[in-house]
Structures are given as structure tokens and as C-alpha cells.
């Protein structure tokens, strides 16, 4: 520091250290002395963790500004789907306290519930008796579940509301209105048969498209077919039942007829490729979640604006879709717990849910489905699908493993283009072994 001394000792080393210390300590002292930091001035802080999904776009674009006007300082942290579960679970379990609110995928609720890392929102004042909730969505927030089988260790536990439905979502059918001119195809056979006519007429290249990638993607695509064929995953004692006759028929149909009528590379298709296929005009029909379905009307993402319609999923024995909602939980380690609960109460009020529906998302309160001007034409169809039938995935903390084992076998059968039933048998053996090891049958 010779230069400083050369200027007549204007700045001594001691003064420099003193100044540096002041700069370092100053910001720490301001809040303690009653001063306010910019973030605190903005309102009640709520840090929301979410995975990237088109289903949350209306919330981000329309509801967060409303929340800010309501006095909430919302920080929205988005991650890629594949990494969120482990990231948030580690956060909640270690008590790191990086989030006030997780927007979970509903199959994750049992995992968080079994680990006892989420707040009891019923005790915090969220009213689970409100008849306006979509009942099937609300049930997903309880751990242990109020209905259906329970895993070992939780047989006698009192169900607790650890999550509340946040944004509704479920699978519906998106189809080409020029190919299926009389309206949504009613059955899977009709999807194929009329789709072939569309191919012959040169309107489309393939009747259907779906996701074939191993694991969650392929299981999600097969699930509505499985349910519609009358399949069920487990009995009330967690015995594997997905390889029943109905289940096997659905898998054979999926890896056989569906593959033969889908684009050639469907085995490697994930949501981006299946989306490109339907929005680009190649495929005639697809069963998908709302985040992708609403892109049909967006001219920046779809070449088929005005040519895609929505309907209830096709039927075999029934027309049942998979329901997979965004569901909110407050970690016990949340630094702004009270703000998070207040935010949830505000967000799930009928008024804000109505605004959510107007913004284009599927609400979680039945009254909001009745808004005169829903943000997109999928919302009334979603209500129709809810009434026709929509089921969540089994409520077990081990669903991720079950889905993985099943997805690998289904993917192998899809590569071969046959053997769907045998794939379910193979997966059943592995799932049973895993659940036995995990103590399900003791």
C-alpha cells in the first residue's frame, strides 16, 4: 500500500481495516436495529420450489403477480423434473430450510409423508372439510391415505393432511378434429381404425403417438390404457395385480397395435418428441397431461392451431385417465412457515381458484370450474374426465421403484413390438421381490 502512504498517509492501514469491518458488519446490524432490507419490505416472503412444467405457466404468469399485490413476496425456484424429488427430499430431511413450499408431483407425497418431514396443514388451519375441494385430489394430500391399502408401520396411524392440491392435472385425449371428424374417438380401437383412415387420406402420418422411454415416461403413457382395460396395480394387501388378464391385454395392445401405429422412433420418445409429433401435424391422437395439451392453441408452439380438439380418454371397459396433480407441502424446516400456510389459504380460496381457471390452469376447487370465461377450452374437458374417471398412482413411498421396474420391462417389450403380457409377468416377479424385501408382506 505504498501508494496510499505516499499521498501523505491519508488512509492508514488501521483506518482501512476499520472501514472494511464497518462495511462487513453494517448490513448485519441494519435489521437488528429495526431497519428493513429490500426483500422484507416487499412483503411476506414465500420461497416456492417447483419442477418445470407447462401446467404451472398460468400460475407463474398470472397468479404470482396477484400474490405480490396481496402482499406476498414470492420467490419461485424451478428445477428440472428429474432432479427435484431427491433435491427437495434432502432439503426437508436435513432441515436445510431452503424452501417454504414444495409443489410436489402427487406420487411423491407418500415418500415425504413416511419420512415425516412435512407440516400438518390441517393443524395449521387448512380446512379439509370444505366440500368445494375436488375430493379425489384432496385425498392425495393425506398420509397415511384415508382410502386404500397402507404400508407397514402406518396401518394404525391417523391420516394427516400434509399436502393440499395446488393445481389440478390429469390426462385427457388430444386429437385431430379433421381426422376424427365426428368428435373424440370413444374407444382405443376407434383411435386406431379412424387414425388409419386419416393416414390413408394423407392428413396424418401416424394414428397415435406416446412416450416410450424407459421408466416414468412409458408407464405414464401406458397407464390410461391399463386403467381403461380394467387393470389395477395392487390389491388391498399390496399383492401385485397388474399382470392380471386385463393388465396383460392392455400391455399387449400398447406394445403391439399402438407401436405399429406410432412414429418409428417411439421407443426413444419423451414428452418433447411426442409433443413435436402431435403439434407438428404428424400424429392423429395422444393422451397427455394439460401442460402439453394447452400448447395446441399456441401458434408459437403448434402448427395445428384450430385442428386439435380435446376429449375424454378412449374407452375399453371404461374411460379412466391417470390423475397427477401439483400438490403443495410445507417442509417442517421452512423458514417462513406461517407465510407459506397463509399463502396456501389465499391461493386455494374460491376467488383465487377462479382466477387460476381464468388464467388457464385446472383448478382444485369444483366451484372454479364454473367460471364463465375459463382460460382455455381444456378446463371443461378436464371436469368431464374427472367425472368419467381419473385415478392417482398407488399411494406407496416405493412407487418410484415399482415404476422403474415396470418401465424397464415395458420398454423392452416395446422395442420388440410384442410380449407386453410377458413383460408384466417379469415386472411382477421383480416388484414382488422388492416389496417382500421392503417388508410389505410381513
Amino acid at each position: 500500500m505504498a501508494g496510499l502512504k505516499d499521498r501523505g498517509g491519508a488512509v492508514s492501514r488501521r483506518a482501512l481495516l476499520r472501514g472494511g469491518a464497518g462495511l462487513a458488519i453494517g448490513p448485519l446490524l441494519i435489521p437488528a436495529l429495526g431497519g428493513s432490507m429490500p426483500a422484507a419490505a416487499a412483503g411476506r416472503k414465500v420461497v416456492i420450489g417447483a419442477f418445470a412444467d407447462g401446467g404451472l405457466t398460468p400460475f407463474k404468469e398470472k397468479i404470482i403477480p396477484l400474490a405480490k399485490a396481496e402482499g406476498f413476496d414470492v420467490e419461485f425456484l424451478e428445477d428440472e423434473y428429474g432432479v427435484t424429488l431427491e433435491k427437495w427430499f434432502a432439503d426437508a430431511q436435513s432441515g436445510a430450510g431452503q424452501y417454504d413450499l414444495f409443489l410436489l408431483d402427487d406420487p411423491w407425497v407418500p415418500q415425504f409423508g413416511a419420512a415425516n418431514v412435512l407440516q400438518d396443514l390441517g393443524a395449521d388451519g387448512i380446512d379439509a372439510t370444505d366440500k368445494d375441494w375436488i375430493g379425489s385430489m384432496l385425498e392425495m394430500g393425506f398420509w397415511p391415505p384415508r382410502q386404500g391399502p397402507r404400508v407397514k408401520g402406518f396401518e394404525a396411524a391417523a391420516p394427516t393432511l400434509i399436502c393440499v392440491p395446488f393445481v389440478g392435472d390429469l390426462q385427457t385425449l388430444t386429437y385431430r378434429s379433421d381426422v376424427y371428424a365426428g368428435g373424440a374417438p370413444q374407444s382405443w380401437d376407434e383411435v386406431i381404425a379412424r387414425g388409419k383412415e386419416g393416414v390413408a387420406a394423407g392428413k396424418i402420418k401416424y394414428p397415435v403417438v406416446f412416450r416410450g422411454v424407459s421408466g416414468n415416461p412409458i408407464v405414464t403413457s401406458w397407464y390410461p390404457i391399463f386403467l381403461s382395460f380394467g387393470g389395477s396395480f395392487f390389491d388391498d394387501k399390496w399383492n401385485v395385480t397388474f399382470n392380471s388378464e386385463a393388465g396383460k391385454a392392455s400391455a399387449d395392445f400398447f406394445v403391439g397395435a399402438m407401436k405399429q401405429n406410432a412414429p418409428p422412433g417411439v421407443v426413444e420418445f419423451d414428452s418433447d418428441q411426442e409433443g413435436a409429433s402431435i403439434l407438428g401435424g404428424e400424429a392423429g391422437a395422444i393422451v397427455q397431461y394439460s401442460g402439453n395439451a394447452v400448447k395446441a392453441d399456441d401458434p408459437q408452439q403448434s402448427k395445428m392451431v384450430g385442428k386439435l380438439d380435446f376429449g375424454v380418454v378412449p374407452k375399453k371397459a371404461s374411460a379412466i385417465a391417470q390423475m397427477g396433480i401439483f400438490i403443495a407441502g410445507v417442509p417442517k424446516s421452512a423458514p417462513n412457515k406461517a407465510n407459506a400456510v397463509a399463502f396456501l389459504k389465499w391461493f386455494t380460496s374460491p376467488q383465487v381458484q377462479a382466477k387460476l381457471a381464468q388464467a388457464g390452469s385446472i383448478p382444485v376447487k369444483r366451484s372454479a370450474f364454473g367460471v364463465p370465461d375459463p382460460g382455455n377450452r381444456l378446463i371443461p374437458v378436464a371436469l368431464k374426465q374427472l367425472d368419467a374417471g381419473a385415478l392417482p398412482r398407488p399411494r406407496t413411498p416405493d412407487w418410484a421403484k415399482v415404476e422403474e421396474l415396470l418401465g424397464i420391462e415395458l420398454n423392452k417389450a416395446l422395442q420388440a413390438g410384442s410380449g407386453g403380457g410377458a413383460a408384466l409377468d417379469a415386472a411382477a416377479v421383480q416388484v414382488k421381490a422388492y416389496l417382500t424385501e421392503a417388508g410389505y408382506y410381513k
Binding site: 424429488l85 415418500q111 408401520g153 424407459s214 422412433g265 426413444e268 413435436a276 418410484a400 422395442q415 421392503a438
Partner: protein, 302 residues
């Protein structure tokens, strides 16, 4: 204090054993850091591998059960086999290509410096970015390979939907990214070789191939061995590229042991099992490295 006083004080301290203790005192901070960041996590991992976890919490001590369970797990055995094939194939191709490039760039010619720089570019790109680029290349519907094929009158090229092609696809990615490392190490090795044996061989009328087989390869053997061991250890831990590109699919065709362990630990919450898996893999890699080092000592420089 006078100089005499200082001398007496030092002598007293030396008498108290300071000189003996000083090296240990100086080493102590480093030892503490190593204990904290290396030994403790290892110990904790070993401890976790002997425990059963459920829903993120310890439910009991189970000794070696996790280790025994590994070998009856078909998915683990498959992942180990896929990894072994991946390492063997990738490292073999990278070694051959890296050596060929190093021999080519050993000569001085116009533009060789630029070429050497360009050749190491793939190595400095973030692996995730490389994987994303390759995903775009391999995409069956709009990928670069499909575009080229269609421009030549062919059809779509599907790499990631077929087990064999997907496996070759991840090997190709690894070769593209890590051949430069082999090139760099081998080039450095080649540049240190003495010129006399080559000049003598030339005087004796040996051709380029004879000279390569009789002199270059034997003299380069220690460097080659080090490069192969380093690259193999690194390849054994490959994760990010495959995670982005295939997530282990189709089926389990590209599921490396690192991916399987990651899923077990974080996706399925099998903490103890995953710890046992990584300890086992660590031991396998250690055994491989020790065997390679032993081999290296045995062959020595020619």
C-alpha cells in the same frame, strides 16, 4: 532477551522435544483436513453400508447384508457388466485414436500448433453440454444424423431407441470427449522419448512401422499404462453424459453402475444399499488400479 538467553531458551525447548514434535505440528492441519474431507466421509459411507434404511431413516444394523444382496440383484450385475463393457470399449478406442493423433501431431508442420489446440477442445466442454449436443445429433425425428440420412435419400436414424446402437452412441460420445486427454498425455510422452534409437534404426534401414513397433511402443509403454489407468478410472465414474442422453435406457442397455447407484440412493431412498454398492465399486476400481500399477512396474520402461 540477549542472544545468549535466546540460545538457552531454544536449547531448553529442544530438550523438551520441540524439534521432534515440530514436523507433526506442521502436518497436523493437513491431516485434520484430510480426516474431515476424505477419511470421515469414507468411514460414514462404510457405516451406512452396514445399515438398513427406510423412508430416509436408519432402522437397524445389518452387517454385510447389503453387500450380499448386491450379488443377487440382477440389475446391479447388469449395470456392472454394462459399465465394464463401456470402459473397455471406450478406453481401447480412445487409446488407439489418441496415439494416432499424437504421432501425427508430433511432427512439426505448418498449422500443427493450431491443430493441437483444436484437438483438445472437446475435453474442455462441460460434459452435460456435450450430452445435450449429442442428444440433438442422435434425435431420431429431427437429429443431425437423420437430416444427413434424409438428404442422402435415406430414412430416419434411430440411435437411442435400440439397445446396441444406444450403447455405441454413448461410447461414441465418450470417445469424442476424452480422446483428447489420451492425445495430450501420449503426445507429452512421445516428446520426451530420446531421438538416438530412432536415428540408429533409420541408419539400419528400419521403416516407420518397424521403428514404431520396436522403439516407440516399448519406450512409451509406461506413459500408455498411466494414461489407460487414469482414463479407465475416470470412465468407470461416467455419469452426467449418460444421465442426460439415455438415463440408462432403452431398457437397461446403457445403465452404468453410477446411474444405478444414484437411483438407488436418491430416487429409491435405498441409502444403505447404495453405500454398499459404491464401496464395492470403489474396491473393484481400486483392485483394477493396483493391478495396473503392478503391471506397470513389471513392464517398466523398455
Amino acid at each position: 532477551m540477549s542472544a545468549i538467553g535466546l540460545g538457552k531458551g531454544r536449547a531448553r525447548l529442544q530438550g523438551a522435544g520441540l524439534d521432534l514434535a515440530l514436523p507433526y505440528l506442521l502436518l497436523a492441519p493437513s491431516v485434520l483436513v484430510v480426516m474431515g474431507v476424505l477419511v470421515y466421509p469414507l468411514w460414514d459411507g462404510l457405516r451406512a453400508s452396514a445399515r438398513a434404511y427406510r423412508y430416509g431413516a436408519v432402522i437397524g444394523e445389518i452387517g454385510f447384508q447389503n453387500y450380499l444382496a448386491l450379488w443377487s440383484d440382477a440389475q446391479f450385475r447388469n449395470a456392472l457388466w454394462v459399465t465394464a463393457r463401456f470402459v473397455a470399449l471406450s478406453v481401447a478406442i480412445e487409446t488407439v485414436l489418441g496415439l494416432a493423433l499424437a504421432l501425427f501431431c508430433l511432427r512439426e508442420f505448418r498449422g500443427v500448433r493450431l491443430l493441437r489446440t483444436v484437438l483438445i477442445v472437446p475435453m474442455v466442454i462441460t460434459p452435460v453440454v456435450v450430452a445435450i449436443v449429442f442428444r440433438l445429433i442422435y434425435a431420431g425425428d429431427v437429429g443431425m444424423l437423420t437430416a444427413i440420412s434424409q438428404a442422402l435419400g435415406g430414412g430416419q436414424v434411430h440411435i437411442l431407441g435400440d439397445p446396441v446402437r444406444a450403447f455405441i452412441g454413448i461410447v461414441a460420445l465418450d470417445v469424442w470427449e476424452w480422446t483428447p486427454l489420451m492425445f495430450l498425455i501420449l503426445l507429452a510422452g512421445l516428446q520426451t522419448l530420446p531421438v538416438e534409437p530412432f536415428e540408429a534404426a533409420r541408419v539400419d534401414g528400419a521403416g516407420a512401422w518397424r521403428s514404431f513397433v520396436d522403439h516407440t511402443l516399448p519406450m512409451l509403454r509406461p506413459v500408455l499404462a498411466v494414461a489407460i489407468v487414469l482414463r479407465a478410472i475416470d470412465a468407470f465414474g461416467t455419469f452426467d453424459q449418460v444421465f442426460v442422453l439415455t438415463r440408462g435406457g432403452p431398457g437397461e442397455a446403457t445403465r452404468l453402475i453410477s446411474l444405478y447407484g444414484y437411483d438407488a440412493a436418491f430416487k429409491f431412498q435405498q441409502t444403505g444399499y447404495a453405500a454398499a454398492l459404491f464401496v464395492t465399486v470403489g474396491l473393484v476400481v481400486l483392485a483394477f488400479a493396483l493391478a495396473a500399477v503392478r503391471l506397470l512396474r513389471r513392464v517398466g520402461p523398455a
